[in-house]
Structure formats: C-alpha cells, structure tokens
C-alpha cells in the first residue's frame, strides 16, 4: 500500500482558457530587459559595429583571394592582411565591451523579475497562501526564476549578436551578388518552417514536463519537511518507492520534451550544409557562365558557412528558450493574482481602537458550501475579556481570521467602535491588533531581532522589558548567547513552549490596542502560564481581548464566554452563570476532572 499516489494525471487537466501564447509570454519576459532601453541601445550599437568588422574579415579574404588569382601583388596583399588584423582586433574590443554592458543589463533585469515577483506576493491575501502547499510555491518561484535566468544569462547575448550577424551577412551577400544571395537564403523559409513545427510539437510535451516536475517538487517538500514522521514509522523504503515512480514519470516527460527540441540541431545541420551545396552549385554554374568570379564564389561559400553559426545558435537556444517560456507562464500566473482582500477606494484610517467589537449575524465559509460560522452575533465592550471555547473545528480560529480581515465574511458585518472593518484600511487595523497564534513562528535570526519585529523602532531596552513581562527573559539569559542567540530553522535549540513565550513577548513589544490569543498558552505548561497570565492580564487591562483556549482555567475569568459548536454560538455568559445552568459548558468544564476527584473543593 503506497500513499502519495492518488492524483489525477496532470495532462488530463486542460490549460485554463485565455492562456497567453508563447510569443506573448516571451515578449512579457523580454520587457524586463528592454526597459533598460539606453543600455540595450548601446549593446546593439556596439554589436552592430563589431559584427560589421567581424564580417569584413571574410570579405577581405575574398579580396585577397582575387588578388592571388591573378598576378600576386605583395603590397596589396600586405595591406589587405593589415586591414584584416585591424578588423579582427577592433571587433574584439567592441564585442568585449558589449558583453560587459549586456551582462550588467541581464543581471539587472533578472533582479527586477525576482524582486517584482516577491513584492507582488507579499501583499496577497492569506487565501492565496493557504490554498497552495508552500513547497510548490517555493520551487515554482525559485526553479522558474533559475530557468528563466539561464536563458537570459547564457543565450540572450548570443541571440542578439547572431541576429545582427545574420542581418549583416544577408546585406553583404546581396551587395556582392544578388543571385547567389537568393540561393544562400533559400534556407530561411525552410528554417522558419522547421522551427515552427518544433514549437508546436514541443508545446504539450513541455507542459506535461512542467506538471510532472511540479508533482515531484510537491512530494519532495512534503516528505522532506515531514521526514521525522517517516523516520518514526520506518517508512523510508515506501517513500523511496513513491518518489521513484514520480521521478521516472518526470524522466520520461523530460526525454520527450527535450528530444523534440534537440531535433533542431541535426535539422539545422542538414539545412545549412544543403545550403552550401546549393550555393556551390549555383556559384559554379554562374562562374562557368562568366557571370561571376571565383573570388566572389569563395567569399560566398565563406559567408554561407558563416550563416551556419547564427542558425545553429538559434537551434541550440530552442530548448532553453522553450523552458524559459514555460517557466515564464508559471511566473506570470502568480504575477496576475490580485489580492482578494482590498481596501475600499475611500477607506479611512482606523482611529485608535477603544475596543467595542460587534459581530452582526456573521456567516463565513472558506470553501463554498461548507459553512464554518453561522449567524454569529455578539457584542464586546471596550476592555472586556472574551473567552471562546468549544470542540475543535467549531470555528474559533476562524473568528480571528475575520476580525483581522485575513478573510472576508460571506454575510453580516463586523464593527469596531462603530466602524465597519470593511470601511477602514486593513493595515491600520492590523497594526493595532496583537495576535499570538497557536503555532509559534520565529525567524532564523537573533532573539532580539525577533522581538523587535513587532515594532522596528523599539529599543533594546524595550524589548528586554517586554521579555521580562512575558517571563521569557530568564530562559533567554540562559541561552548560549543570550539575546544574540541565533534561532535555528527547525528550532531545535528551543522547546515549543519557549518559542511560544517569545511570540508572546513579541506581542508585548507591539503594545497593541486589542489582543487576540489563539490557544496561545496550550503549549506552555501551566506553571509558567500562570506568570504569563498575570502579565497578559496586565496587558489586557483596559483593552478588549479575545482568548481561545481548551484549558478552561485560562478563560474562567472572562467577562463573556462564547461557546461555539459547529459554527454557532450555543451558549454564552460568565463562567458562574453557565456553571449554574449546567449546560454544555458545565459538562465541558467538569470533564477535565474525569471523575477522578469527586469531592474537590468546588472550583466554581
């Protein structure tokens, strides 16, 4: 029995309508380079002259040959050679310069792309991130940028210079002898047709490849980040087997896609060689008829041979180009995402929150058809502590997502101090609400920097003060480098509880006007929690706070407790009120003793 294998074959899902063409995607990618018009113009200018000089060499060769065909003139020969050398060196200098300018341009363009992508993602709404496994997003972004980067780094310069070369060759050929030029250029329509054929054939193959790579990356990320479970249950062999299957599929897809695009090489080879043959034939014919001379034919053969260089460069660039375009499509899909939660056009800044919170008949679902919250209505006065409890999946954490506008309600309204949260600026709102989440998240940075994250302008002393109030100061001082200790990625140098303490301290640095604790203390043992409770109580004094906890002792002293079950508020009141009602809350509370301590001094 192997998990991981239940997925729809990616190629069966058709591409979404309105998919841009390859050319459109390429143009959009190129814009990252073309925006530096000045530098680009310089590059092209240098390339122009450099290529002309480069092409002078075979031309001068022809001159020299003609010289040699007749009576040999040493001085003329010498002159020709000197010019050739000058052209060669001149060309070198210009090409080298253009290379430097181009390198800078390409790297700048790629930098822009990466930054643009990142800057676009950050403000996107949480729904975007929740919908996608992180691994896929990351490898899509990093892989795809690398593939795009490879094309521009390695092939762009070549393509520009070879295109120019091609143009000049054509001009030179026509200038020399238009008949031979036509013979030489007979290859062009064939070449273009051939490339078009390849492009059409490789399209679906590349899409399949991308899909397979995406699957593979997803699996990789899932198991590598969940590797501890794989180890704990000794399922390494199965993991390898599942991976092997996907890897093989990716391999087959890769073979197909790559082979098709590799066809460009032998194809170009045959076309260019046939071209030379054609030129030789026509040239020979014309010479024998006296319409042209050996020297020109020699030059033409040289030029036609030279034609092979840009053509085979184009052929060699086909694969990286197609790959870059495919990656470009994925990147642009992200860039085309719009944030789901936007401020209204005339959104007001949120004045300092007093804390009067109202939920009016709020309904919400993450996924259409599965309601998480139904008809939630309640009111919290400024400074009150509201406790939320209930079975898991009842919708408590969801409430938090709604107050902070990470998601928008389906119907109903949420008001703070009489302002609908949909009328105010989101950032203003969030800055004033402090949240401590269930899963503590810290950056792999120093302790001090993590604390300061809440308010970049906070001084060291303020952070330490906050840490003291959260009772994190003691264990921080016991760390090897104290506040300068670097936190590791998987956090093995801190326990879950310690990490949670740090997040609480961080919130204290923020000093918010409203506080939300999402089961924040369930990973912290109750001894320390007691001290944190005191500090939090101090913090919550005068501020409205929402506390979600399974440990009912945490919310016992709330001004109002809301009991949520299956998305509805089934019971509400103070602890005392509900205990005397002996309803759902009463049962919940009593179950923590499990009948082991009958006769306990009434905790009520």
């Amino acid at each position: 029995m192997k998990p991981f294998l239940h997925r729809q074959s990616p190629s069966k899902t058709p591409p979404p309508p309105g998919t841009p063409t390859k050319v459109q995607t390429f143009r959009r990618l190129s814009r990252y380079m073309t925006r530096y018009a000045g530098k680009l113009a310089l590059v092209i200018g240098l390339l122009l002259i450099g290529t002309i000089l480069n092409l002078l060499v075979p031309y001068l060769l022809g001159v020299g040959i003609n010289n040699l065909s007749g009576p040999r003139d040493a001085t003329a020969l010498q002159q020709t050679v000197v010019w050739m050398v000058a052209a060669a060196i001149g060309s070198w200098v210009l090409m080298a310069c253009q290379g430097q300018v181009l390198a800078r341009l390409v790297q700048q363009g790629l930098y822009d792309l990466r930054q643009h992508l990142f800057n676009h993602m950050m403000p996107l709404s949480l729904g975007f991130f929740d919908r996608r496994p992180i691994g896929e997003l990351i490898s899509s972004v990093t892989n795809d940028s690398e593939v795009i980067s490879l094309f521009f780094r390695s092939y762009l310069g070549e393509l520009i210079s070879q295109s120019l070369r091609f143009i000049f060759l054509v001009i030179a050929m026509f200038w020399l002898d238009w008949r031979l030029a036509i013979a030489a250029l007979a290859i062009s329509p064939l070449f273009t047709g051939f490339m078009k054929l390849l492009s059409t054939a490789s399209g679906p193959a590349y899409q399949e490849l991308q899909a397979q790579i995406g699957e593979l990356s997803g699996l990789m990320e899932e198991t590598v980040s969940g590797q501890k479970v794989v180890i704990a249950y000794d399922r390494q062999d199965e993991a390898v087997a599942s991976f092997k299957e996907l890897s093989l599929a990716a391999m087959e897809a890769g073979k197909k896609a790559k082979f098709i695009s590799q066809l460009s090489r032998p194809g170009t080879l045959v076309l260019t060689n046939l071209d030379i043959a054609l030129v030789a034939l026509v040239g020979g014919f014309l010479t024998l008829k006296g319409l042209t001379n050996v020297g020109i034919v020699a030059t033409f053969l040289q030029y036609t041979r030279q034609l092979a260089v840009p053509l085979s460069t184009f052929a060699g660039a086909v694969d990286p180009l197609f790959a870059a375009i495919a990656s470009g499509e994925r990147v642009f899909r992200i860039l085309d995402e719009k944030p789901a939660i936007v401020d209204k056009p005339n959104a007001q800044p949120m004045p300092p929150i007093q804390g009067h919170v109202e939920f009016r008949d709020v309904d919400f679902s993450y996924v259409l058809g599965r309601k998480i919250l139904k008809h939630n209505t309640f009111e919290a006065r400024p400074g009150q502590k509201i406790g939320l409890c209930g079975p898991t999946g009842a919708g408590k954490s969801t409430m938090i997502n709604l107050i902070t506008r990470y998601y928008d309600v389906d119907s109903g309204n949420i008001l703070i101090d009489g302002y609908s949260i949909y009328d105010v600026q989101q950032e203003d709102l969030r800055k004033q609400i402090g949240i401590v989440l269930q899963e503590p998240f810290l950056f792999s940075d120093t302790v001090m920097n993590n604390l300061r994250y809440a308010r970049l302008a906070a001084m060291d002393a303020e952070c330490m003060e906050a840490a003291k109030r959260a009772n994190a100061h003691d264990f921080i001082m016991r760390l090897p480098d104290g506040y300068n200790t670097l936190l590791a990625e998987r956090g093995s140098n801190l326990s879950q509880g310690q990490r949670q303490l740090l997040t609480i301290a961080r919130m204290m640095v923020q000093d918010p006007r409203m506080v939300i604790l999402d089961e924040a203390t369930s990973n912290v043992d109750t001894q320390t929690e007691k001290k944190i409770q005191e500090a939090l109580d101090r913090l919550m004094e005068g501020r409205t706070s929402f506390v979600i906890a399974h440990r009912l002792s945490t919310i016992r002293d709330s001004d109002l407790i809301l009991v949520l079950k299956a998305g509805e508020i089934i019971e509400r009141g103070t602890h005392d009120e509900m205990m005397s009602n002996q309803g759902f809350y009463y049962n919940l509370f009593m179950s923590q003793f499990k009948g082991k301590l009958e006769g306990i001094a009434h905790a009520a």
Binding site: L77, W92, I134, Q262, G284, C389, S444
Partner: protein, 586 residues
Amino acid sequence: MGLLPSLRRFIRIYKGYERPFWVAQLLQAIASIFTLLVPLMSQQLLDQGLLVGNQDVVLSSVMWMVLFSILAAGFSLANSWYAVQFGERTAHAVRMYLYRKIQTFSFGNLDQFPTSDLLVNMTSDVNQIKTVVEQVILLLAQTPVLLLGSLYLIYANSPGLAWIMWLVVGVTLAILYLALQQIGALFEDRQAKLDAVNRVLQEDLSGIRVVKAFVQEDYEMRRYDQANVAFRKSSLRPMQIAVFIQPTLFAIVNLATAGALWFGGNPTNPDAVSVGQIVAFSQYLATVLIPLVSVAIVMPQISAAEASATRMFHVMDAQPTVPSAASPTRLTPETAQGRIVFEHVSFQYPPQEGQHPTPVLQQINLTIEPGQTVAFLGATGSGKSTLVNLIPRFYDVTAGRITIDGVDVRDIPLQDLHQIVAIALQESVLFSGTVRDNVCYGRPDATEEAMTAAAIAADADSFVSASPEGYDASVARRGANFSGGQRQRLSIARALAVQPKIVILDDSTSALDMDTEARVQDAISTLMHGATTIFVAQRISTVIGADQIFLMEAGEIVASGTHTDLVRTSPLYQLICESQLGGVPA
C-alpha cells in the same frame, strides 16, 4: 585539488554505463567527420572545378556535399537521442541518490540541513548537472573530431599552414582553462547567495501570517531586496568573465584567417599555397568555430555544475547521527514486554556550527514497568519531549543508556524498535493519500478491524465515518483539509495502529477539549491493555490518572509518584494543581 574535483567524483556514478556513452560519441564523431568533408568538397569544387572550368567536377562535388550533409544530420540525430536519454537518466539517478540519502537521515542530520537547501539541491542543482551532462555528450566528440579532422586535412592539403592551426588550438585551450579556473570559485559563491535568497523566501512564505500580523510586508521586501542584490552581484561576476570567451575565440579565428592569407599567399614564401587551399583552410577555421562557440556557452555552465556537484556531495557525505546497531539483538513486538529503564542518562543536542552545545538532560534515572501508564509533566524547556525522543532513538544519549527489557536500545535494529515503540509527535503531520493510508502508515498490513479499532480509540472514527468516502477520503498535502484537532486524532490513531508495546503521546492531546481527551485516554488504555503508555503533557487533566507521574524541571526529574503522592509531597506539583484546577483537592 585539480580541475573540477566534484564533477570528476560525480562521473564515477556512470560506472557500468560506459558503452552507450561511447556509442553516442562514436555517432557524433562520424557526424563530425561528414561535416568536415563538406569543406573538402568546397575545395575540390574551387580548385578542380571552377578554376579549371570543369563542370563535371563542380556537379560531383555538390552531390557529395549533399550526401555528406544528410549523413552528418542522421548521425547527429542519433547522438541527440542518446544525449537526451543520458541527461534525463542522470537527473533521475541523481535525484534518487539524494532522496535515498535523505531517507537515511536521522533527526540530527535533519537539524543540519534546512528544508529549503535540500529542495534547492534536489531541483536546481540536479538540473544544472543534467544540463551539463547533455551538453557534454553533444559536444564532447564533436570538438576533438572537428579539431583533429581539420588539422589532418590541413596537413594533407597545405602543411605550410598547419602550424597556424596548432597555434589556434593551443591558445584556445589555454584561454578556456584559465576561464574555467576563474569562474569556478565564483559560481560557488553564486550558489551560496542563491541559498540565502531562497531562505528568505521560504521563511516569509511559511511565516506569512506573522508577516501580515505585524504588517511587515515592506520590511520583508527590503530584506528580500538585500539578499536579491547580493545574489545579483555574485551572478554578475562569473558572467563578466564568461562574456569574454566568445569574442576572444572569434578574434583568434579571424587573426588566423589573416595569417593564412599572408603566409599562404606571400610570393616570397616557398610553401605558397593555392587559392583553394586558403579557402579550405578558412572554411575549416569556420567549421571549428561552431563547436568552440558552443563550448564558450557551456563552459560557465560546467563551472555551475561543479558548484552544484560540490553541494550534492555535502549532503551525500553526511554521516547518520544514529548509527545502525553494531551487534543487533532481536527483540520483537511479540517478545517485548515494555519495561523501560533509564540509567544515568544525559543528553545534549549535537552542536550546530559555531554554537555551544546545550545540555538538555542530566543524570536521568527511572524505571517504567510493562503495562504502566506514566506521564511526564514539567515546565517549558524542562526536557520532556527530548527525553521521550530518546526511547525510539531519534537521538542517541550522550551518556548512560536506555534499555527495553534489559536490551540497550542501541542494539535493537531500528525497524524492530519502531515496531515496539510508536510515537505520536508534537507536530501532527499527515501525508497526501487516503485516510486509510495515513492511519495504517506504520503498519500497512493492518487488518480493517485493527485500523478501525485504533481510529475509534483515538476518537477519529466518528468524523472519518461521517464523511461519504469514509476511510477512502483523500487527505490533502500536509493534511490541510483537516482541522488541528482532527489531525492530532489521526496522528494518535496512526501510532495505535502499529500495535506497539510502548506508546508515546507527546503533547498530542493539546488541541482536544477535556471531554474528548478523557474519552481518548480511556479508550487507549482499553485498546492498549498490557502496553506501556507514556504521556508527555502540560495539563494535569492529562496526567491525573497515571500510575507514575514524573515531574521534570531543567532537565532533571525532581519528583515522581502518583497524583496523590505528589499532591502530598511536591510543592511544585501543588502549585501546578492550584493554577490549573483552582485549588488543591482535599
């Protein structure tokens, strides 16, 4: 060290696959020979055809050209096919190597390698190596064949000019060698900067909630910008050198052409050559240009691949921190009783680079009898989770030993050990697949009854059966389509399904409400009758019914006993009771 040490080491994986490789090279060599013959025909055309006005020679030369072209293309096609096969197979092989290696990792190794770095290894680095392999196969035979072929033909035709060719070859090789040297180190730096950029990205994507909670999007953009700029600069440096290569090669060829004209055509030169020979020579030079240009493009990629191969070996060379049993003792779930003894156990985490080792457990001594239900309770960072992680050997003790039924856990093969000890970790991770796949993860051959029984005991059966597909319902990646509490219960069911002799639940009921937790605990003790059950917890409610409670503080056991004992004797325990239950029970 020599040139490209990692790539040379890498090539060894091809042992046994040499034959297809050489066949591919042979095909390319033949293709190249035919390509060389085309300019030979040009020469013939000019010298023996046009210059003397012989039409027949002209025609036959052209025909030969056509023939040679087609043959060259045909062989080149075959070579391309091989190249693609090779490249993709290589990618597959390298991916498997790395993945298999990661599967041999223990917890200690995982701590050493951040997930994002490993992912970059498996994707970007693998791609880099694959690309180079493909390119090498396509070019390898071509370049020397064209060079040698051109040299031979020049010798045959115009020995007087041959020395120019030698000069060209020599200078070109020197330049390429120099470039490779310079670029190599620069690429390593580039990959390191790429790692840094990706790390910021991964952190910010994983922690996006925090970024948004503190409205720090702007700050993060600046942070990313910094890493991005550093990456851009490190990318620029190798590219600056790489762009020199091609113009230089062109210049060499141009100068050589000039030289050919001068030395070949100079009337004072006794070795004066014919016009046709000069043209042929310049044709051979141009012929050589094509592979040289390709080499110029591929060369920097070779440097990049070297850097990638080095990183790959960094992972491959990691030693598992938990070595396999040297003298394995068979202790099966059938024969095991479940008696756990800690003897003078101390532990500290393997230190990361540049960090001091922090002692986490000190002198732990305890005994757990078979079938007991015990609990570890303690303050934050007291070492509870660390302690229980030692039992299934996720880490090895740094002093002392742990025995199960008298056998040191280090002598039990890991596979057996993990059948005897099943643990539901603090972080409940599920995998994509079906619910059934996940619950039976530790024991794929579990019967339907056993699986259901485990699920019932974990209070997971109720919500699983409530959905239309039941146990065949699909689990999204990371179990994202289930709530935190549901994931926990499935994670517990998974541990129970193994039917182990020792069950460890590491804070795995934290997301459950009291009611559910109580039910689960009762059900577990019924299902796992006879098994040793260990709870690691924060809540008194979890531990209250245990046969033995171990109270931990700062890596030591400060008190142990039943709830009643501890209430009487331990002030710390009394304190906890008071804060949780609001009063010490009489």
